[in-house]
Symmetry: C2
Subunit: 696 residues, 2 copies
Amino acid sequence: MRWYPFAALLLGLGGAAMTARSDEGMWLLNDPPRQHLKDKYQFELTEAWLRNAMLASVRLNSGGSGGFVSPEGLLVTNHHVAADAIQKLSKPGEDLLRDGFVAASRERELKCPDLEINVLQEIIDVTKEVNAAVKPGMSPAEAFAARRAVMSTLEHESLKTTGLRSDVVTLYNGGAYHLYRYKKYTDVRLVFAPERAIASFGGDVDNFEYPRMNLDVAFFRAYENGQPAKTPHFFRWSDTGPAEGDLVFVTGHPGTTQRLETLARLKHRRDFTLPYTLARLRTLEAALHQYSEQSSENARQAATDLHSVANARKAFSGQLQGLLDPQIMELKRKQEAEFRERIVQQAKATGSPPPDFAGTFGRIETIQQQLREFEKPYNLFEIGHAFFSPLFTIARHCVRLADELPKKSAERLREYRDSHLESLKFQLFSPAPLYPELERAKLTASLTFMAEMLGGEHELVQRVLAGKNPAARAQELVRGTKLFDPEERQRLVNGGQEAINASRDPMIVLVRAIDAAARQLRSRYETEVEEPERQAYATLATWRFQVYGQSVAPDATFTLRLAFGTVQGYEVDGIQLPFHTTFGDAFEKSAQRNGQEPFALPRRWLDGRSKLDLKTPFNFVSTADTIGGNSGSPVLNRAGELVGVNFDRNRHGLVRNFVYTDVQARHIAVHSKAVLEALRQLYPEAAAVVAELTGK
Amino acid sequence: MRWYPFAALLLGLGGAAMTARSDEGMWLLNDPPRQHLKDKYQFELTEAWLRNAMLASVRLNSGGSGGFVSPEGLLVTNHHVAADAIQKLSKPGEDLLRDGFVAASRERELKCPDLEINVLQEIIDVTKEVNAAVKPGMSPAEAFAARRAVMSTLEHESLKTTGLRSDVVTLYNGGAYHLYRYKKYTDVRLVFAPERAIASFGGDVDNFEYPRMNLDVAFFRAYENGQPAKTPHFFRWSDTGPAEGDLVFVTGHPGTTQRLETLARLKHRRDFTLPYTLARLRTLEAALHQYSEQSSENARQAATDLHSVANARKAFSGQLQGLLDPQIMELKRKQEAEFRERIVQQAKATGSPPPDFAGTFGRIETIQQQLREFEKPYNLFEIGHAFFSPLFTIARHCVRLADELPKKSAERLREYRDSHLESLKFQLFSPAPLYPELERAKLTASLTFMAEMLGGEHELVQRVLAGKNPAARAQELVRGTKLFDPEERQRLVNGGQEAINASRDPMIVLVRAIDAAARQLRSRYETEVEEPERQAYATLATWRFQVYGQSVAPDATFTLRLAFGTVQGYEVDGIQLPFHTTFGDAFEKSAQRNGQEPFALPRRWLDGRSKLDLKTPFNFVSTADTIGGNSGSPVLNRAGELVGVNFDRNRHGLVRNFVYTDVQARHIAVHSKAVLEALRQLYPEAAAVVAELTGK
């Protein structure tokens, strides 16, 4: 990753509050920046526009966004978001990820083994209910349990009443709680995917770079009762796309940002969490690289794991460079100082007692010190970083379901609450293929990483390794487990505690051996970090509303948000980059790089070059505020039509976890026209898709 | 890297003392295992045999071994040892590493910019002199200074007397000191190198694996006064090579082993040093990978760095798996317990006072605890891991030479002693090319690693980064420095303290800014670790001689050693691997892998296949005891003829740092016949080399 000094960039950094000029914000759909859009863009955000945007936007449980683009359940997302599903539909000798896929008819659409999509139907503010459950004087453990219980009850009741997937979402790190109700689809079928070579043209080299020339789209169709779902709310596909200077909107599910975190928390991220995370990702990336080099079939098996690890490594590297930039830290320090000053002034003005900074900023700082003590074992054993394999996740669920299901829903670990069980089992019993040698390589790497982090004398390390070195232990676990078979998982879950206790499956035995310790780490995290941080941030949120009003959007939470911005290019080192690239640029770049990986174009593109209008806009950029999770997000124009599909940020946008800037930072989207032109000229088998998109 | 349980392997692990059956040991040339060779192999090691082996063996200062193979200075080593020099002889558009090189005549031999070779002439035991300098009651700092002074004086006197490069070598971690006198050659020219595709056939995938089919050889010629050096002591090139079961010898310069280290020290390695080392190597490997992917010219520039980092990563991963293997640690524990018991018994038997375990084993354990406190900053700032670029090393030498040269030789930092200055300057003023963008990428990675290890608040981190993030700081340093130019380095060194003080070169300014702190870390390491460990190990060595006699070789120290073993295959998972591979195997494997990287054969080999006798033995294995640094070592038969060129160990041999085993562990060598056949059939331009090798 290249990286440039921030001097120029900083000129455009926004403050804590949104200025009249800034396009900052991943806004809640129930609290959109109406006035700002009116003032700056003379755009009237209507209820109808918002409602269509909400009901046509889609969340994929594999970690991305998308949108319906026809009334018959057709939806678009990124190829790299679809990759997980496409990989699971592939097998040795049939590599749909590499070769692409077009369903010649609806009957040929391929049902994904475990892809679930959610469509937000309604948002209800439940802050009062959630906070009311926590009584003064409760210990953190009691408060955490009370909060978990009330959330679970609210969700359960909502599910019973509406039949909709219901999740209570924590906003502002604890400043607000909203209940999100989703329509859920679990029969999702692959309609179209281009070849990876054009979807990810430039590969890891060009990831987070611009100019880009990627056809990073894929189409699925949602089904209900074996029939294409009826989706009256959808985005009309624009056949012109955006022009320079256009106002555009992005609806999608940004994953996480840390803009409202305190300076102490950010320093902890910089000095502990991010170095740990990067060390872990580099370990996994090296192991996956080495596995892939063994053969082309190995490379096929490891492709999606490798991409997601490499992508994360690049994103987190950018975050770390950002937090190591003294100018950015200085800005965050100033913002915090100004915020404190405003709070003090506000208190004085209203005659309130002086604000309790020790119980808020100070408490969050203390929490970080405590977190250092156990963050690594917590991540390794409870989050599961020591076991980089779905086999572990599967075993963990089997073991914990046996423990948790006998309890009342409100008292279970959150992921086992009634309202979530269906989605969990859909994943758990997925028939998606797993490859023993790949899982062995991944487990070897992560078990080794565990030992590196904690040392060979650590009691849990010794318990996990059980008298072997990491490589031998991984081999034993993978060779011995029967959890590759979904029926075995079913058997264990149906058999409950008795089946688990009787199991000699080494993966089940491993999970049981560490589960008490892992649960203890989790409960320590909940009571020493999560709950006290929530309480402190709740106070900070109250103050923030008091001094800045509603002008600050909450940090991202992988829930539906609305962002907006202007389509425009930018300058780097004196060179003006245009707001869009063209098909011609892709051929040119490939030629410059002698058609070598990752700049090789698919045969279909090389052969079909003359059929294409090479001036067709391919990718474009705008200033809208996005982050990971926004991949696949529809980009809309004022009319609410889809003019693009967001797929990346440029490297200047990597600091957006912490600060918004629009001087050079841009999100990157596939142009709506590019998709139509490519489908029409190069993928004649997809004629029905084009007809459906254009309504003809 | 694949890894197998050690159950079977452990059956063959030797104890602390050499058993009658073991081929363990990297023996000193002045203390070879004569009796053992006689007993086990009925081989009489004569003075003449030994002397020729010593005078014909070569050490390359780039970190490997070799041997003279003609009376006219021709020497053989590994291609991967020669790679550093070959890389430095390459330039954009002329990639000798990839394409190979044959000097059609002696005039065309290419002079290497900074390759120095050393040939051991004599060994003198100076243990008494060195230990006599340390008086009872001296503080560790005084003892360290006294020892350094006496070593420097001994070397200086030896150089004056003999004109030979003279190094005092610390053996048995401080149990003995020997003065090594070397003849030095600094005019070394490249004669022959094959294409990398056949030299490293299988690349990183097959590194540390067997069966192998690598032509991992290169030939240089040593020159004196512009003429080929006269080297009457050389190894005759065997045109038959070894047969199965043959006794063979390996002469070479094994780098480091840790077999005599205490358990406490090994645990420190397992839990601190190795995890740190692997995190560092993975960071660098990822950065070099990413740099290489940018273009084929980038890949060319980064090739040797990437290979050496990847090779180290694999070797250290193997070490870590070894130390994480409870069976190996248990063996080491038993060895140490048995050793202690024998010492106690010995003391009782001789009526000596009870041995001071607190002052030896106990002290070494305490030292490890102290070392944890500052090992990372010591490695980062004094060893220079924070600055992965020769530009830093160059700047450091310029700054320190100005400080050190005014002092008496005996009082300088060891690397600036008079007897070493010539070799140091030969490196420092090397005209070998450096590539700014590559150095920037490497510096960015290592500066980031520094910040990850120590955190953004660390005072030295802030001083190094000087208000920038790592990427921006690396850019500033590389863009600003003039040290790419050897003349600028000369100017600074000639200008002494005044020139250094006046310099505004950012790299010089950086070195000066941290030099006091770096020196302090070094002196802390010397007085808290190095000197007290030496004293403790000296006592352990005395005890070891008392209870085990001379049957234990010292740990490796990158000085000349003699190993021996039997040519034989081995069994893995029930499959018997033959003692040698053939040319045919290479073609077969390449075909299996569809000629894909790293299993692509060079055009010359594909075209010349029919000319080759495909049954020609290609690589072979033996049980002789080798480690990194032995790369390029001559493998000799009873007659002292060269039958092979060692180039690797198999993965079972990766634990040899800690324990010797011969059940599956093998070193791997290029068969002498393979070299002749390949040169004769495929490289007709090298006819003169063949004539020289065969004496025809």
